[in-house]
């Protein structure tokens, strides 16, 4: 069975702690490991290495010998024992390997489920493998299929739909309040790291200006320079707030920095144009009563964390639907792959030819009336003889190939030329889906 030749050995954030993972990273010159893997008996292989996982996908005939060698190669740079190798890493084979790869590509196996970076990393890994001539007909199709499965999961589920980090949640909320964030003004109160991060996310949404207000104006100026914004002292707080739309507060002050009574006149001055206040300081900077003012929305760090938690459970639900898609696709892919053998392919070719003969014969016989049984028989014989002769050369073309890699390639060509597989099945190369 072709599918059983696919293997995947690796470790990820679930199986190995970071101390182990950081020793694995196969960075630097990629030509070397690919050459080595080939020597170990991998007909085709692809190395995926990110900060959360290192995985080697390979195709091998004699897996019993190749797999331990690859595992050893994977841990080559470390001083771990055989048991530890097995404890930290996993080996998947056949359909399990297919399912695993599809889950990885669809970001169902990621640390933060639904984060889309992994697909790009996988595409890059595949590209590198192709450049080193490490892939062949099976992995080419397999990985392209993985990309399209990932795409399907993304479009058919809402897995990447909701924000699962605090700063993204803040951006999402801001969008629900302001619609488009282009042209909005952001004020940073205090120069904390979290505030910086949130401001960075907002800037990518096209906000117009960042104003940094801080107790020490010098630090405010430093931060303002980073965002090409303005700096102001604490005494200007209310004046600047009247002009802002979003405030991110993260001072280290022990008490409240802004009280509800200070905000009310500001809202009149702003003609009630809405104000979104984000308080990520602990202890809090902003008076909780501010949230009771009309058109002012105050979220503190716990509120945002709550939003994130809700979104996470939404993601978990969507991930279940993603898993179902992955199961369906890996079943389809492995059965396609298993049909990529000489026997089934020849049978499929003959079946197709027989069907065409029968159909055409039936049509002609309707027009030719008054044929004797004998004449009929010889017509039938003739059509099937033509079909058999036509198929002879393609079948020999398949049978004469002894190299298994090339044979798979030829099988794929024949199956495509004769349109044996339904279109878009079995990971026909979708080279444009970047």
């Amino acid at each position: 069975m072709q599918a059983d030749r696919i293997h995947l050995i690796g470790l990820n954030h679930k199986t190995a702690p970071v101390e182990i993972r950081e020793k694995m990273a196969l960075s630097g010159d990629q030509a070397l490991p690919y050459r080595e893997l080939k020597e170990l008996g991998c007909e085709e292989c692809c190395i995926l290495s990110t900060c959360n996982r290192v995985e080697i996908t390979f195709v091998a005939r004699d897996a019993d010998k190749t797999a331990p060698a690859v595992r050893k190669f994977l841990f080559g740079g470390s001083d771990l024992s055989q048991e530890e190798y097995e404890k930290y890493s996993y080996l998947h084979r056949g359909r399990d390997a297919v399912t695993h790869m599809f889950r990885v590509a669809s970001s169902l196996d990621s640390m933060i489920v639904g984060e889309p970076q992994i697909l790009g990393q996988l595409k890059q890994a595949f590209k590198t493998a192709v450049e080193h001539g490490a892939t062949g007909p099976i992995l080419n199709r397999f990985l392209h299929k993985a990309f399209s499965v990932a795409k399907r999961v993304r479009t058919e589920t809402n897995i990447g739909g909701s924000a699962v980090s605090i700063s993204y949640a803040a951006v999402e909320l801001a969008k629900k309040i302001f619609g488009d964030l282009a042209g909005k003004r952001v004020m940073l109160l205090g120069a904390g790291e979290m505030a910086e991060l949130a401001a960075e996310h907002l800037i990518t949404q096209g906000i117009a200006e960042v104003v940094v207000v801080n107790r020490t104006v010098e630090r405010a100026m430093n931060l303002a320079r980073r965002f090409k914004g303005r700096a102001a002292g604490l005494d200007e707080l209310t004046d600047r707030l009247a002009e802002a739309d979003i405030l991110i507060s993260s001072t280290g002050a022990p008490g409240l920095v802004l009280e509800a009574d200070q905000v009310r006149p500001i809202m009149r001055q702003r003609m009630n144009s809405p104000l979104f206040l984000i308080d990520i300081a602990v202890p809090r900077d902003l008076d909780p009563a501010i949230n009771d003012i009309d058109n002012v929305y105050l979220y503190d760090i716990d509120d945002l964390q709550h939003v994130v938690d809700m979104n996470k459970s939404e993601r978990d639900r969507e991930a279940k639907r993603g898993e179902a898609i992955v199961r369906e696709e890996s079943l389809k892919f492995t059965s396609w792959l298993d049909a990529m053998e000489i026997g089934p392919t020849i049978a499929a070719l003959r079946a197709k030819a027989d069907e065409i003969c029968r159909a055409e014969l039936g049509r002609s016989l309707k027009k030719l009336s008054g044929l004797s049984d004998k004449e009929r028989k010889s017509l039938e014989k003739m059509t099937s003889a033509i079909a058999a002769k036509m198929l002879h050369d393609p079948i020999m073309f398949l049978k004469n190939e002894t190299d298994p890699g090339l044979r798979t390639e030829k099988l794929a060509v024949i199956r495509r030329v004769f349109a044996i597989d339904p279109p878009n099945e079995g990971g026909r190369c979708e080279r444009n889906d970047q």
């Binding site: 909701s162 969008k175 629900k176 619609g179 003609m271 009630n272 809405p274 009309d294 058109n295």
Partner: protein, 271 residues
């Protein structure tokens, strides 16, 4: 002819149900169905109104059935014209039930075509009555926008994201909807009152006679004038604008119905 009315009603009911299903399951195919149903309903409904106009010989806006049906049609046309320019997610979910409710009121009202009393036989009838009812159509849209705003705002303010947070558009979009509908509805309403007054001068010799309908439409007009004025000067935007759109629409409905049934006057329908 009545069959057209029933077809339109059936299409509205279908659209309402489809929109509610779409609201629940987010299936785009269902939304496409709902949109198609609204357009089909609008076609049947327009055909019905035209057919009635031809057979009655005057603008079909003189009985309760006709006025409410025309009201429903103007909400539909207002909605379609709005959709054509803006996109407001799930707006249809809130508008189609209103249209269907109006259609049901029309269904249970007397369908007979009434003879027009001589005082009403004028070119001013279609002008005055249709403009006034069209205004109500847009005010109804502002009303639904107001409801949507309050629902969405509540979830953001209370930090409890339930049914609406993901399904409704941003507060900004809903506030724009409110502004747009008032910006169309209010001038129409003003024109309706002016045209009525000019007609009254011709028919009865006086511009204004403090008939209850006139009084109430003036009250409604002042409410909306205040809303718009405050919006641009004192910042009655957003939440307060949404609440006012709801109150204003209640006044408009009272002008349309309450006056006829409770207070009477020259605007009572002939039939």
């Amino acid at each position: 002819m009545t069959i057209l009315f029933h077809l339109a009603l059936a299409a509205y009911i279908f659209a309402t149900i489809s929109y509610l299903v779409y609201f629940g399951n987010d299936n785009r195919k269902v939304r496409t169905l709902a949109r198609g149903a609204v357009i089909a309903a609008a076609v049947f409904h327009t055909a019905y109104t035209v057919a009635r106009m031809i057979s009655g010989g005057h603008t079909p806006i003189t009985s309760n059935h006709e006025a409410v049906s025309f009201f429903a049609l103007s909400v539909t046309l207002g909605y379609l014209s709005f959709r054509w320019r803006y996109r407001v997610r799930n707006f249809g979910v809130f508008v189609t039930p209103i249209i269907t409710a109006l259609m049901l009121v029309a269904l249970f009202s007397d369908h007979r075509i009434s003879e027009l009393p001589p005082a009403l036989q004028s070119l001013w009838l279609p002008v005055h009555a249709s403009i006034a009812v069209m205004a109500n159509g847009f005010l109804a849209l502002a009303f639904s926008g107001g409801i949507m705003y309050l629902l969405q705002e509540r979830e953001i303010k209370k930090k409890k994201f339930g049914l609406f947070y993901h399904r409704l558009p941003s507060l900004e979009a809903l506030d724009n909807l409110n502004r747009h509908c008032l910006a169309v509805g209010f001038p129409l309403m003003t024109l309706g009152i002016i045209s009525g007054s000019v007609w009254a001068k011709q028919a009865w010799g006086t511009y204004w006679q403090w008939d209850p309908k006139e009084t109430w439409s003036l009250i409604t007009w002042f409410i909306y004038a205040a809303i718009l004025h405050q919006r641009f000067t004192a910042g009655w935007r957003r939440r307060r604008a949404a609440i006012m759109a709801i109150i204003g629409f209640a006044a408009a409905l009272f002008t349309l119905w309450g006056v006829n049934f409770i207070l009477g006057g020259v605007h009572s329908y002939a039939g």
